[in-house]
């Protein structure tokens, strides 16, 4: 398992990707097979930075879970917000009518199983991404 605390900024993505790389190295996993974990991590992290209601840094935890990698983001000082309740965008909508928002979560939900836990104003969002071969 590996844990880090990242600043609530988009430019912390580089550190997030470095953390994933360090986890893959520590677990002797092929870094080239980290694409989906990186994608899920970026989408969820940027969602928290842009739309999260908490304050302060964001905790990141990576661990093996079954045949997958569990990525958790921990946000303090926040009301409960379960991203699983966000409706999926209409895939048949013409491009002209599509908004950028919502696309990231739609991608995440196809790649990972999501869990959300909220306790004493701390929200923990966990995404379990199957290991790529």
């Amino acid at each position: 398992m590996i844990e880090r605390t990242l600043p609530r900024r988009i430019d912390a993505l580089e550190t997030l990707f470095e953390t994933i790389g360090a986890f893959y190295d520590a677990e002797r996993l092929d870094r080239d097979a980290a694409f989906n974990v990186e994608l899920v991590a970026e989408e969820l992290f940027t969602n928290v930075v842009r739309h999260g209601h908490g304050s302060g840094d964001i905790g990141v935890r990576l661990e093996r879970e079954g045949a997958g990698v569990a990525l958790s983001l921990v946000e303090h000082g926040t009301d409960a917000f379960d991203p699983r309740t966000v409706p999926a965008p209409d895939p048949d909508l013409p491009l002209e009518q599509r908004r950028g928002g919502g696309m990231g979560l739609h991608i995440v939900r196809q790649l990972a199983e999501l869990r959300y836990h909220h306790h004493e104003r701390t929200g923990t969002l966990t995404a379990v991404v199957p290991l790529e071969s």
Binding site: I10, D11, L13, E14, F17, F35, E38, L39, E42, E43, T46, P91, P94, L95, E96, R98, G100, M103, G104, H106, I107, Q110, L111
Partner: protein, 94 residues
Amino acid sequence: MFEIAIDGNSRATLTGRLDASQADRAMESMSALTGDAVVDCAGLDYISSAGLGVIVETYKRLARAQGSLRLVRVTPRVRNVFALANLDRVLTIE
């Protein structure tokens, strides 16, 4: 690392990783594309929804001006991200 090069024939070449931290810069560079534009994605290793947003907004801008956008030499991994976002059916991806 992310690099974007635009040539005089309205062709953009993307290299590296187009994530949310690079999207604003990419959008600014892509604003130089006009008419029937081509985006070469052979060197694009990674794209997220923020990068897809840059492509979609550029596509819309060109379409409004009767132009077009074609993505060429897209790697399977990057193509899969377009598919996950249901964009592979509405964009021209080669």
